[in-house]
Symmetry: C2
Subunit: 238 residues, 2 copies
């Protein structure tokens, strides 16, 4: 009987080969890290550590951090639920879209900053824009007003989400993704304004209103203003 001696191959002592890098794997890792630590803390190095590689390897798949940002934001935008247009409810539907987008930013802490100034060029973002245009136009908004409203609403939601993320980071007191404690912020402001004496009489007089309401109240006010305004001025743009 012959015994076959198995000689180790050149790789016999290596651990299982690492999975090959792909953009999807990089984005997956970014999403995971963002949920844990916020997108501000996602660097090429932290990503590389998460993927058990070196930061330079990432550049074989994404041109730079900006391009990675685009993939990440597109992934998030792709999660937006987009209703079928209902002409009788177009205003509420636009509000729902904007609430949905804000919620996604909240669930992905720190991502709003990466979204600022970004024009959708990938499927997820285009889908969202397509949905908004379809709803507005089904509701009788002129195409020009609808088109520009896409910009406006994205700027507004992005700005609110970004501001929230700034507050969250500053306070360091709420878990990533939670709404900032607007009451505490405004209490600081109230105290400050009430110490102003005669310098700012209107601010002092209305300190209560200035500091009333939380982030959601203010966001909903903004939605009311934006949607009512769109309905009021649409016909001027055609």
């Amino acid at each position: 009987m012959r015994v076959r001696v198995a000689l180790p191959s050149g790789r016999a002592d290596r651990v299982e080969p690492k999975a090959r890098l792909t953009v999807d794997r990089i984005v997956d890792a970014a999403m995971e890290l963002m949920k844990r630590e916020g997108y501000d803390n996602v660097s090429m190095r932290s990503l590389a550590r998460e993927l058990d590689t070196g930061p330079a390897s990432l550049y074989a798949h994404v041109a730079n951090k900006d391009e990675l940002d685009q993939y990440v934001i597109d992934r998030i935008s792709g999660m937006l639920e987009i209703p079928d247009p209902d002409p009788d409810r177009w205003q509420e539907q636009l509000k729902e879209l904007m609430r949905g987008m804000l919620q996604l930013f909240r669930e992905h802490p720190g991502s709003a900053r990466a979204a600022m100034g970004m024009i959708p060029t990938m499927e997820g973002g285009l889908r969202a824009a397509e949905g908004m245009m379809a709803i507005a136009i089904a509701g009788g908004v002129t195409p020009q007003a609808a088109a520009w409203f896409c910009d406006l609403s994205a700027a507004y939601v992005g700005a609110i989400a970004y501001e929230e993320s700034i507050w969250t980071a500053r306070e360091n007191s709420t878990a990533a993704g939670e709404q900032p404690d607007h009451a505490a912020i405004d209490e600081q402001l109230r105290t400050f304004v009430e110490g102003m004496g005669d310098r700012f009489p209107v601010l002092v007089r209305f300190a209560t209103e200035l500091t009333a309401g939380g982030g959601d109240d203010r966001f909903e006010f903004g939605l009311d203003v934006l949607i009512s305004g769109l309905a009021a001025v649409s016909k001027r743009y055609s």
Copy 2:
């Protein structure tokens, strides 16, 4: 006759002593550098070089970069021209305030980002808020709506300015402070969308509207929407 020999004092061979650092001098230097290179390129190190000192010296006067940001934004806000309230023109006056703020951001490239999420706590910013509240209330807006509109308008103008600065930095083709070439940006988008085939029929159909107009057209549309919306919904908030 006695000749008096002037012995050099301990400092005779030193150049003129450096002017003592102050917050104002630091902010002056930041403003100067911002005009030349954009605020994104103003670092503690570049500031220290401009002031002929070391970066650590700055921390004797400002707690950190964030605090410096507050001083800088307050300086800029303080330049805003604030009209006396005229109840018959309150809507146009609010628009003027917002245009004025956008113009200041444009003249101070890169500053919008520092302004995001910032609550006014210094004279300049409080003055602007005081002016806006006074105009809105003189025009019959309820105090609650006026108060929340201060947030909304600051978020909107800040977001637009920030987006513009992002475009400017990306294009690298316009001088600091100039409006980004929106037409070129949108031409890219038009080309892209027209290659979409059947995926996004509404976007394809209205590609012309989506890409029409420059930054000012879009900003003015936003002002129309916001101000008309405020007028329409104000009474709901009281």
